[in-house]
């Protein structure tokens, strides 16, 4: 299959022929090469490589699971499983008016709290701003957070959420996935859900994975 070929850094992929360059590629003299050890995806209008490992780099619009690291006067510094930390200003986190002179903002979020937010701004120097101004963003209470390879999150979610829906249904767990490679799980059958997710992380490029997970969870 052409779409599941493993390539190494510097490997020649194809001629560009006016196509879009996705992530994990670079161009030299109209020839496109991979920059990652990963799975090459060559289609009619785009060339890209999905890495098999690596660290999370913040990207605009990504939904992430993050921990409050530091409380400032008018916001919070956030740790998000990445070389870069993010800032969550109070205006992007709280709907009501907050009198900063009188309020201790730890009443909203305190150090160690886990939140689910959206990356609203990334500068070229990787100063990152987080926002919680949408209905999906919230504080994640209880539950546990596990780490997986960030590039494999789409596989855990599956096509139109098929994989994650299946795990949720079979284990009756609440599951939230962050693009930064963190997965938050709460519910009674946590252990099974964790097992399933770690299996996907390990074997993300095997075919027939959906069936395997289904069987695993069915037992």
């Amino acid at each position: 299959m052409k779409t599941r070929t493993i390539v190494i850094p510097g490997e020649y992929l194809d001629e560009k022929r006016g196509r879009k360059l996705g992530s994990g590629t670079y161009e030299e003299n109209d020839k496109v090469y991979s920059t990652f050890l990963g799975i090459a995806r060559i289609s009619e209008n785009e060339l890209s490589v999905v890495p098999l490992s690596g660290t999370y780099l913040p990207k605009l619009g990504d939904r992430v699971i993050a921990t409050i690291d530091e409380v400032e006067i008018s916001g919070w510094f956030i740790e998000m499983n990445s070389p870069y930390s993010a800032f969550l200003p109070i205006a992007e986190a709280v709907d009501e008016f907050v009198d900063l002179q009188r309020t201790d903002i730890t009443r909203y979020f305190d150090i160690g709290d886990i939140i689910f937010g959206r990356i609203s701004r990334v500068t070229r120097n990787k100063n990152v701003q987080l926002s919680m101004r949408d209905f999906e963003s919230r504080k994640l209470k209880g539950g546990i957070v596990i780490k997986v390879t960030p590039s494999k999150i789409p596989r855990i979610i599956g096509k139109e959420g098929s994989m994650i829906m299946m795990i949720k249904e079979k284990t009756k767990c609440e599951i939230v996935t962050g693009q930064n490679g963190l997965v938050w799980i709460r519910g009674e059958d946590k252990q099974k859900a964790i097992e399933a997710i770690l299996t996907i992380d390990r074997e993300s490029h095997m075919t027939g994975l959906t069936e395997k997970i289904e069987k695993m969870l069915g037992e």
């Binding site: 299959m1 599941r4 850094p9 510097g10 020649y12 890495p51 870069y84 990787k126």
Partner: protein, 241 residues
């Protein structure tokens, strides 16, 4: 230091370990030897054995070391006390500091550091056993470890050593040959791009000898590159369907 029993180190076209003049030692490569690292590799050329591991990209402190335009690569080359027949006193010394820099310089052209402003990628090379050509073995190992860590690179870096001994040009010097060589050259290159990233020479060579050795080294780097590729693919063999 190992003193040679024979005055001649090449007899009837064969070297002391039975190799031909243009033959590499047995090469072993393995990916993912250190599970706590972002990426790691084990490479051995004959008895020369290196383990490389990569941490990061991760945030860089103290802050004054940060570069807001680009990330930086830091490399530490270290020889273990039992890696040579005499005890090597542990800790950094002048030689390993220099080699750390040389190895970093030879890998920097391949690594795309612009993607990680303010961050660092740390590479560690531990020589388990040193029997000649340690810097090139270290480069081969660290290049694999970087690829395994998911660091964007323009190409892998493959390296090998060549030299001259008893007036004969040879490839991949071992410890004995290294100590008694008339000249030795370390070469690292990006084989796909045909770009040389490291070229060091000790001793004397004529221009013709040098050009001949350089071509030998280029061919050998091509072979080593294929081995590196095989090692990387082997790691994920089960995942390719």
């Amino acid at each position: 230091m190992a003193k040679d029993l024979n005055k001649e180190l090449i007899i009837d076209g064969l070297r002391m370990d039975g190799r031909l003049t243009d033959q590499l030692r047995d090469v072993k490569m393995e990916i993912g030897t250190v599970s706590s690292a972002s990426g790691s590799a084990y490479v051995s050329f004959g008895h020369t054995t290196a383990i490389a591991s990569v941490q990061g990209p991760r945030s860089l402190f103290p802050k004054f070391l940060q570069n807001s335009q680009t990330g930086i690569l830091r490399v530490r080359y270290n020889m273990l006390p039992f890696s040579v027949s005499d005890r090597k006193s542990p800790g950094p010394d002048r030689r390993s500091t220099e080699l750390s820099k040389v190895i970093r310089k030879s890998l920097e052209p391949a690594v795309i550091l612009d993607d990680f402003p303010k961050a660092t990628i740390d590479g560690f090379i531990e020589m388990i056993e040193a029997d000649g050509s340690t810097r090139v073995t270290g480069i081969n190992a660290l290049s694999l470890a970087l690829a395994h860590a998911g660091i964007p690179m323009k190409d892998l870096v493959a390296a090998c050593s060549v030299g001259k001994i008893n007036n004969t040009l040879i490839l991949d010097l071992n410890g004995l040959e290294d100590n008694n060589s008339e000249s030795d050259v370390a070469v690292a290159m990006m084989p796909n791009k045909n770009l040389i990233t490291l070229l060091q020479m000790d001793g004397m060579l004529t221009k013709e000898e040098f050009m001949k050795l350089l071509n030998t080294a280029k061919d050998a780097c091509g072979k080593i590159y294929e081995m590196q590729k095989m090692a990387l693919l082997e790691k994920y063999k089960g995942e390719e369907q």
